[in-house]
């Protein structure tokens, strides 16, 4: 989807705030939102659907509201969509139904253990052999599509080289539609001059992880 989230290479953004304090959370709500995102999610969603729902936040909200605010809005939207709660229940803070779960309190050690358990593996078996090998020259799709995708605009229709291969992984374009397919995944390296023209330094390069259907042989 050619949305506001696809920011790579877009112009007009000012300097980066390099003097931000290093503490992990600047406001209490940031930590609470981070924690909730580790503990609870709509039962039938996946990471790509969650990302797509975040991409669909209105442009002005996406760019101007704080980061963890966008996580709150994304999680709220997925939960309303999956009928975990309604907008009325959210507004009143009162559940109109009996509890959906009875999650138990977790102590500090329990959190450390749960944290270790969410090192998810996104690789999946597939029946096909990878089409490309390290060193192959490939060209990326010139066009995007209306759904969720992980081929950014700045890397479309560009020629690169297969840098490494990672087995097959969940394919986001399908996962975001609830279809758990998988495709071979590669890291593809692009010369900065291929992406940005002659202004770029010829010694620089950009790599992206790209799924096989984003690529064609050249």
């Amino acid at each position: 989807m050619d949305g506001i989230h696809d920011l790579g290479g877009k112009l007009g953004y000012g300097p980066v705030d390099v003097n931000e304090p290093e503490e992990p959370f600047h406001y209490d709500y940031e930590g609470r939102m981070w924690a909730m995102s580790r503990i609870a999610k709509a039962p039938d969603i996946n990471i790509d659907w969650w990302r797509h729902v975040r991409e669909l936040i209105q442009e002005d909200d996406y760019l101007n509201r704080p980061y963890f605010d966008s996580w709150a809005q994304t999680t709220i939207a997925t939960m309303i969509d999956s009928e975990v709660f309604t907008t009325d229940e959210l507004a009143s803070g009162v559940s109109a139904t009996p509890p959906l779960a009875d999650v138990q309190e977790v102590d500090y050690e329990g959190v450390l253990q749960q944290n270790a358990e969410i090192a998810f593996d996104f690789s999946r078996p597939v029946d096909t052999e990878p089409q490309f090998a390290v060193g192959d020259i490939v060209v990326t799709n010139a066009e995007g599509h209306t759904g969720h995708t992980r081929l950014p605009e700045y890397a479309r229709g560009k020629t690169g080289v297969i840098h490494s291969y990672h087995s097959a992984h969940c394919f986001p374009d399908d996962y975001a539609k609830g279809n758990p397919s998988a495709q071979h995944l590669y890291t593809v390296a692009f010369a900065a001059t291929e992406l940005w023209g002659d202004d770029a330094n010829p010694n620089d390069r950009v790599t992206l992880e790209l799924w096989e259907s984003y690529l064609a042989p050249k």
Partner: protein, 212 residues
């Protein structure tokens, strides 16, 4: 069931835009309140998660990975071959460590990490991402003009040092292994880890300071 329907989500967002409280803390509070009501979270557990990420899980984990790589060649080899297993070996497995990659700075290469499409970050070993990493400015600019962004961070690179930008578009996550500073030959792993900055493991810092 999730609808997986773009149009329906757009409508929900429009509704939320005008019906959610405008204050971010109140939005998050509303979510916590209803999730507690639904039996899906305990507020006490949220407190513990916040404590864990404030105290235990943060860039000091990554710094220990780097210091060990500097001092233990066999570990460094394992780290560069399969960083996910290497950090697991150190007890640092966690969110977004499942497909971790380590990339090494050299005299003629500088690595820097971004996620242009969202804000993917190796939480398990670097903790919470800084805000700047998640801003439109960083995401837009670092792929296109990495040298200008690095200069804002105080990193000035010679023209012949190649910048390698890693855009995390899948579930792979990156930690940059900065170069070990000169004059640290007699330092312990603990002392070395204290030299490693968070930004150096993202790639927005390069020359680590000794005795800073």
């Amino acid at each position: 069931m999730a609808s997986f329907d773009q149009k329906k989500i757009t409508e929900i967002h429009q509704h939320l835009h005008s019906h959610l409280p405008s204050d971010s803390a109140l939005r998050v509070k509303a979510l916590e309140t209803i999730l507690v009501e639904k039996g899906m979270v305990k507020s006490e557990s949220i407190d513990r998660w916040v404590e864990v990420y404030a105290d235990d899980i943060g860039p000091k984990r990554g710094a220990h990975v780097v210091a060990r790589a500097w001092t233990d060649p066999a570990f460094k080899e394992r780290l560069l071959a399969d960083a996910a297993s290497a950090v697991d070996e150190m007890g640092y497995k966690g969110p977004a460590s499942g497909h971790l990659k380590a990339v090494e700075n050299t005299d003629d290469t500088h690595n820097v990490v971004v996620c242009t499409l969202c804000s993917c970050y190796p939480f398990a070993i670097l903790g919470m991402a800084p805000n700047w990493y998640k801003t439109a400015a960083y995401r837009a600019r670092v792929v296109r003009e990495p040298r200008a962004v690095l200069e804002e961070f105080g990193v000035k690179l010679a023209e012949d040092v190649g910048v390698h930008v890693w855009d995390s578009t899948a579930e792979l996550r990156y930690i940059v292994i900065p170069q070990r500073p000169q004059g640290t030959e007699n330092m312990s792993v603990e002392e070395l880890a204290a030299l490693v900055t968070r930004n150096s493991m993202i790639g927005t810092d390069r020359d680590l300071k000794v005795g800073a």
